[in-house]
């Protein structure tokens, strides 16, 4: 798809929260119902806007975690920052039925479609798994078998969002490799490794591939992204293949 074909960014429109439930102790899954649907590409984000009774507004960006195949139900994975303005609202106040203003889809760089091919290397931590989840779900919905590997950093298995879904996807699809890097816990099984994302874990996750990664997507906090992008490059990803999305400090 060329840049010119990318979906246009909508004006502000209203969405309704149709599901809200914890994914991990710190990350909440929020599903927004949209009528009409919002066409987007895996990896893009939306801006959400909250309005106080006196008209004061706050807006923040959230990556879409659901696949483009369900454009009427956008799933977000929102991590709670204790001193934050918007993320605690979604954890403590927002409920199913609430209306939220939304604009999007936004971002034309951190995107992948099955037409882009692979091998595909995805590396994330925390809520940074959200746009990678959209790519993995898109790939699965299309029955695509592009060689793909997903490396997820988490302190413990319980703090890794989407763990069960990812393990099920990998079990059904030998061309999809999943590796959890657990920094505060030992491995539960062959899909876990103790430690952090490093060159050795990148090599381990991509060992069976016919060639080097063609597209690498790294998402999470800035510190994580710097370390993981470095790991991808020293683990064999060609310079120029690595795209990053940084959620902040």
């Amino acid at each position: 798809m060329s840049l010119a074909d990318a979906p246009r960014i909508s004006g502000w429109r209203s969405a309704t929260i149709v599901e809200a439930a914890p994914l991990t102790p710190r990350v909440k899954r929020v599903v927004l119902g949209l009528d009409p649907p919002l066409r987007f590409r895996a990896g893009q984000h939306v801006d959400l806007r909250l309005t106080a009774p006196d008209g004061y507004q706050a807006r923040r960006s959230y990556s879409i975690a659901s696949g483009p195949e369900t454009p009427d139900r956008l799933e977000l994975a929102i991590e709670k920052l204790d001193d934050g303005e918007v993320s605690p609202f979604f954890h403590e106040v927002a409920e199913v039925g609430d209306a939220i203003d939304l604009r999007g889809p936004i971002g034309g760089h951190f995107v992948w479609s099955v037409e882009d091919g692979g091998p595909l290397l995805l590396i994330g931590a925390g809520s940074g798994v959200a746009p990678l989840m959209s790519m993995v779900r898109h790939r699965a919905a299309r029955g695509d078998r592009t060689p793909a590997a997903l490396l997820l950093g988490a302190r413990t298995a319980a703090e890794a969002p989407y763990r069960e879904e990812l393990l099920a996807l990998a079990a059904a699809d030998p061309s999809l490799g999943i590796l959890f890097l657990l920094s505060r816990e030992s491995a539960h099984g062959p899909f876990d490794r103790a430690g952090r994302v490093d060159a050795a874990s990148v090599r381990a996750a991509t060992a069976g591939w016919p060639g080097p990664a063609r597209h690498v997507f790294v998402c999470g906090s800035n510190a994580f992204v710097n370390a993981a992008a470095e790991a991808a490059l020293s683990g064999g990803a060609p310079p120029g293949s690595v795209r990053t999305e940084r959620y902040g400090g």
């Binding site: 960014i9 923040r60 209306a99 936004i106 971002g107 034309g108 710097n226 902040g248």
Partner: protein, 202 residues
Amino acid sequence: MATRGFTGRRTPDDHAARTPPGQALTTDFPVLSAGPTPKIALADWSFTLKVGPRPVAKWSWEEFSALPRTSYVRDIHCVTTWSKLDTAWEGVLIDDVLAAVGLAPPTGFTLAHGFDGYTTNVPTADLVGGKAMIATAYDGAPLTPDHGGPARLLVPHLYFWKSAKWVSGLQFTERDEAGFWELRGYHMYGDPWREQRYDDDA
């Protein structure tokens, strides 16, 4: 319509007049960029001025460091909604870069280029008159790679994606040529006071 249960955290009154609409103040300095942070050795660094496709001047790090230096303190505004007040920068004003080669602003538009292949467009008028610089120091220390070091373009009155990190040169263009994010739906001008975030914002 108000969002049920949202009251919000307000910008303190003494800073409200300096905070554009939709922005929240931060004391951190968040980092956003589209790829890995490039490592650029000063020996490999250069800065090139082009008029259209034609290079008209090129500096090594040593030569660039000999240009007149300016310091200023400015507020900066990122399109991801953080603003940071009173950031202290040092570098070479675009006015002084042009003066060094005896050049008047040759065209109405400029495309800034980065070592990572990044580009962004800025009207030339927004770069001159003491407004913009090639910054090499932040808060009294050499600019770190995360924040665009060795040198970044700094156009503090526009959204911060216009302040190209790892800048390698400026290219004066006849037409307003969209840069990296501008091709991907972001605004051609990017005035934070008019909330010009995306291409259909007025």
